[in-house]
Amino acid sequence: MAEKFDAIVVGAGPSGNAAAYTLAKSGLKVLQLERGEYPGSKNVQGAILYSDALERIIPDFREDAPLERHIIEQRMWVLDDESFVGTHYRSDEFNKPPYNRYTIIRAQFDKWFSQKAQEAGALLLCETTVSDLIMDGDRVVGVQTDRLGGSVHADIVILADGVNSVLARKAGFRPELNPGDVALAVKEIHFMPEETIQSRFNISGESGVVIEMVGKITKGMMGTGFLYTNKESLTIGVGCMLSDFKKQKVSPNQLLEEMKNHPSIKPLIEGGEMKEYAAHLIPEGGYKAIPQIYGEGWMIVGDSGMFVNAVHREGSNLAMTTGRIAAETIIELAEKQKPFSARNLAAYREKLDASFVMKDLKKYRNMPGIFHRNPQFFTTYPELVNQAAHTMIKVDGIDKKTKEREIRNSFTHRRSLFGLMGDAFKMWRAFE
């Protein structure tokens, strides 16, 4: 049986679901293929949901989406071995609906999102792996799955198959993953009573706190740690560049174990029962790592297209936005009865260029390279900043002016004046 669809979406994560939902809602005949047992069964994220991107797809998502806590406080910690210097931003503005950000559990959230796509009319088949693209010359005309009689045809194939995107690599749309362009993140979910979470984090009801961490916890590797509050659990994790793990020969689980034992973190998770352990790759190569994202009869969305803003810890919103914009591009072409040729699909890239997706990624295009070459941002500076805070706060009979000099000297001693100026310039370049 040669079933034919208007569009095939490979993958049922945020980008695939956004694309399938948008396409199906417009009345197109959509097939979505997911290799996991159910949508979300293989997906891993911190996870923070940014409302805006989803609101543009499903405006009333708050009515039934499985959400954990809305975030009212963001903490940023710079850690040394036994201390941290941090800023906390908490605003009651974030405690007024409609809420801007939520913590979520992806296994539940993805199931819900996929259900919405199915209700809109998309046909979903799980436990079905797409092994190859079916080509007619240089045009993609369908997919080959691992099942008997498994070829299905479509006018357009959207690759939403995640960071590894075996399909895009096999088809030559994307190069092999470069270990310097992906982070490996590990996380655990620790269950504890709601009241404990509320009292530990000074929150009530369903409001929540997010802690983002940088510093000695990553042992000089380029990466960050995080701790999120869910309804009845905490998510704690850490991620570093794959190339750094390789170089430093540190195992991710060991890194997380040590982070959990940091004296500032340990009391927060104490007494919890670990119920889940997960690891995943995150594409963090940024703007320069984005491959060709469209061609004759195909498009790439989400992680598969390296759409992650590592600096701001944004990824799922970029995934949903690219999925939605890809779908909208297809819908517009279909309405005008234009073919899904590379030439016509170029509108997808143009729309992304004009959106926050590419604008943000372009802004930080130099950041990965700068941080790769300058590990002091993850080692020396966290140490110095913590030492400085310690020196100023400790009361020990030494006058403040001497203390200030000591701090200044510690900085110039470790990095030299030129080093400091150079680093400041690099930081400015990275964030310009």
């Binding site: 079933e3 046909l123 979903l124 099942r147 299905v152």
Partner: protein
């Protein structure tokens, strides 16, 4: 040949948790699967259909969400699927369940006579192994339990030969149709669904039967009313295992790690240490 396969949707017991305070099973968030033994029986039924032709009907009694389990069976190649669901069934024990299922199967037989019924040996959540035999008794069918494989089926003489795993060996048994077989694990493996069947399952319209549609008139025989079994207490046995410990040494050398491990073992189990000393002496 018309084969009916009884299945049940169960929580994946490998992932189940017991609530520490109430001692009840926490079903929330635990994935639901088709009872593994039922899949062995479905596969065996499908193999018979492959050889002899005919029809395989899958039936379950359960809550509306059991639909997913039935759909899965359609994807493997079952022809029809019937969900028997009604609030009146709530709280049923094996006596009430076998009554409801036997009545529903009799209802199916009105459409086309049923030659064989397959059940799993037992479910992994109830572990009673009573429902299959209960159905056979109520329907006055030959009963073959603990079957590891169906050797042959002769349609003209209406006989079936099976291997039954028994204490001390394997019995080769022959009986006449109609019969009910409860299947063990291990001699077959569920096939990988074809793309056509995946599409069919995704679009299949299930038959949903309430009590009346299933042909059940006597409500005193179903649900809580029809269940003499009383669960007087549920408790979780104390976990006996100790938590794992991560052993590390300063140098990280395998030799040092081994020494640390051995000294830890000997400290915790002096008897072991003594035995080793004695042996080396």
């Amino acid at each position: 040949m018309h084969i009916v396969v009884c299945i049940k949707q169960v929580p994946d017991s490998a992932q189940i948790r017991v609530h520490p305070v109430t001692n009840t099973i926490m079903r929330q968030g635990v994935p639901a699967i088709v009872n593994p033994y039922d899949l062995f029986s479905l596969e065996e039924a499908l193999r018979l259909k492959d050889i002899h032709g005919g029809r395989v009907t899958v039936i379950t009694m359960g809550p509306p969400q059991a639909e997913a389990a039935l759909r899965k069976c359609i994807s493997f190649g079952a022809d029809e699927a019937i969900l028997v669901t009604d609030r009146a069934f709530a709280g049923a024990d094996t006596l009430a369940t076998s009554y409801a299922l036997a009545t529903a199967i009799a209802q199916i037989a009105k459409d086309q006579a049923v030659d064989m019924v397959f059940c799993g040996k037992q479910t992994i959540d109830g572990d009673t192994a009573q429902v299959g035999p209960g159905i056979a008794k109520r329907m006055d069918m030959q009963l073959l339990t603990y079957v590891s494989q169906v050797d042959s089926l002769d349609i003209t003489s209406r006989t079936v030969q099976v291997q039954r795993r028994a204490e001390g060996g394997v019995q080769v048994l022959t009986t006449r149709l109609p019969c009910l077989v409860t299947m063990l694990e291990g001699t077959n493996e569920m096939r990988f669904a074809t793309m056509d069947n995946m599409f069919r399952a995704a679009r299949y319209q299930l038959k949903v039967w309430d009590r009346v549609a299933a042909g059940i008139e006597d409500v005193s025989k179903i649900g809580l009313k029809g269940s003499p079994t009383v669960v007087s207490k549920v408790f979780a046995p104390q976990a006996k295992t100790q938590r794992a410990e991560i052993i590390d040494s300063e140098s990280g050398e395998p030799r040092d790690l081994a020494l640390t491990l051995i000294s830890k073992l000997f400290t915790q189990h002096p008897a072991m240490s003594e035995a080793v000393v004695k042996q080396s002496a």
